[in-house]
Symmetry: C2
């Protein structure tokens, strides 16, 4: 029966719930109520189908939808199955980028949001970054100093900000920061090609990153926060030619 | 052929791309490259199937996945079809909540993130709220003053914060604020039931909301930001018994 329903279009104006939606809601409720935590193995397809009185294709549909949302993943090998996972594969970032693209989110809004989030993450990094975290920042800084190609330099720049976000203890802020930093990557690259003197701009960015790295290493939270805000606003201004204030 | 592939599990460790993933990537690329903007009608199912050389079930799969992510929706009625949409139905918020639930995101992290985002949105509201926005805030405040039931009061409280987020011009911050405010709704409700004197707490919340509303109406950005931060931190402290500093 659900075969027929699944064969219709996505419109559910008829008010009926499709079989795969039943499965979706069941698994989502399990996650929200805490029964399905990170790493939990889902029941086998046939058991879920029997439990919810739907066909196995409906269960596979729901699994695919949740998999594309980065909420579950297949374990490989025999004896494997489908497990609940935390933040699989940047799926959340990808979905966020798609929403941002459709909403035509302006670079100004993205920048303001980035500043708000990165101030939180750099403060956390200045409080809790380990020596290993600082060493990773130094590696990226060394690579930036040697790289004068826009494409690869821009990737290293993104990596620097992502490392700081991950060094803080707030994983929600880190995930959002990463998604937004990825979302502004292309506009930043394009604006870089149109700048009068990108090489000078590049040297400024390295110097600012070095300052932020030092503030983190010295556990100077206020300095790290101020430098981060100034760095992002300054880069925005240089790239777009308009003030962000 | 894709029928067989779709019949396998979600594991793609074999390195092959499934037919529905081809369709997904095609539509996603259209969104990211700006060809598919808000409101764009997707080609009919059979055209997409022919173009990408996949079966129609694969196209339906991809449509379902994107629909669950709130990126597309069916237009109803004859002559309708599947359209790209911006921020459909809080799908982004729902996915975010599921990720937060799996990651076991602590209420402390959520609170810090809320503060960072709501400071941006209340500043935007203080700069650009219309008289209609203020009137809506007043309506919610009036309803809060008359409501002393935890469940419905908590919903009105959420609504107040969501209205402020929507009154600002930054829709990204608004979407994230709404998702996070929704994610903390249940923990706040549960903690409310366990408080010694919820009625007194409730009166404090109303007073703080009134102060924030007044600062917005008076276009006092700094005051609105300070009161919002103090309000969220204070409520967190009262509800959890621990300081958020």
């Amino acid at each position: 029966m659900e075969g027929t329903k699944l064969g219709t279009n996505v419109d559910s104006a008829d008010g009926e719930v499709r079989a795969y939606e039943l499965v979706l809601r069941y698994i989502e409720a399990g996650i929200l109520e805490g029964r399905y935590g990170n790493g939990t193995l889902l029941p086998p397809e046939r058991d879920l189908a029997a439990l919810l009185r739907v066909g196995r294709p409906a269960v596979r549909e729901a699994i695919r939808v949740l998999s594309a949302q980065g909420l579950i993943a297949a374990s490989t090998g025999r004896g494997g199955g489908t497990r609940i996972v935390a933040a699989q594969d940047d799926a959340l970032g990808r979905i966020l980028r798609l929403h941002l693209a459709i909403a035509g989110q302006g670079i100004h809004d993205l920048t303001e949001t980035r500043i708000a989030l990165e101030k939180v993450s750099v403060a956390a990094a200045a409080r809790s970054a380990t020596e290993a975290d600082i060493a990773e920042l130094d590696e990226v800084l060394a690579a930036m100093a040697e790289d004068d190609q826009i494409e690869s330099f821009n990737s290293l720049d993104t990596e620097f900000h992502v490392l700081i976000a991950r060094a803080g203890s707030n994983s929600l802020v880190a995930d959002l920061t990463v998604a937004i930093r990825e979302a502004v990557k292309d506009p930043i690259r394009e604006a870089s090609y149109e700048m009068g003197d990108w090489q000078e701009f590049r040297l400024g960015l390295i110097e600012q990153h070095q300052g932020i790295r030092d503030a983190i290493a010295e556990r100077d939270v206020d300095q790290a926060v101020n430098l981060t805000e100034r760095h992002i606003r300054g880069a925005f201004h240089a790239l777009t030619g308009v003030s962000d204030d």
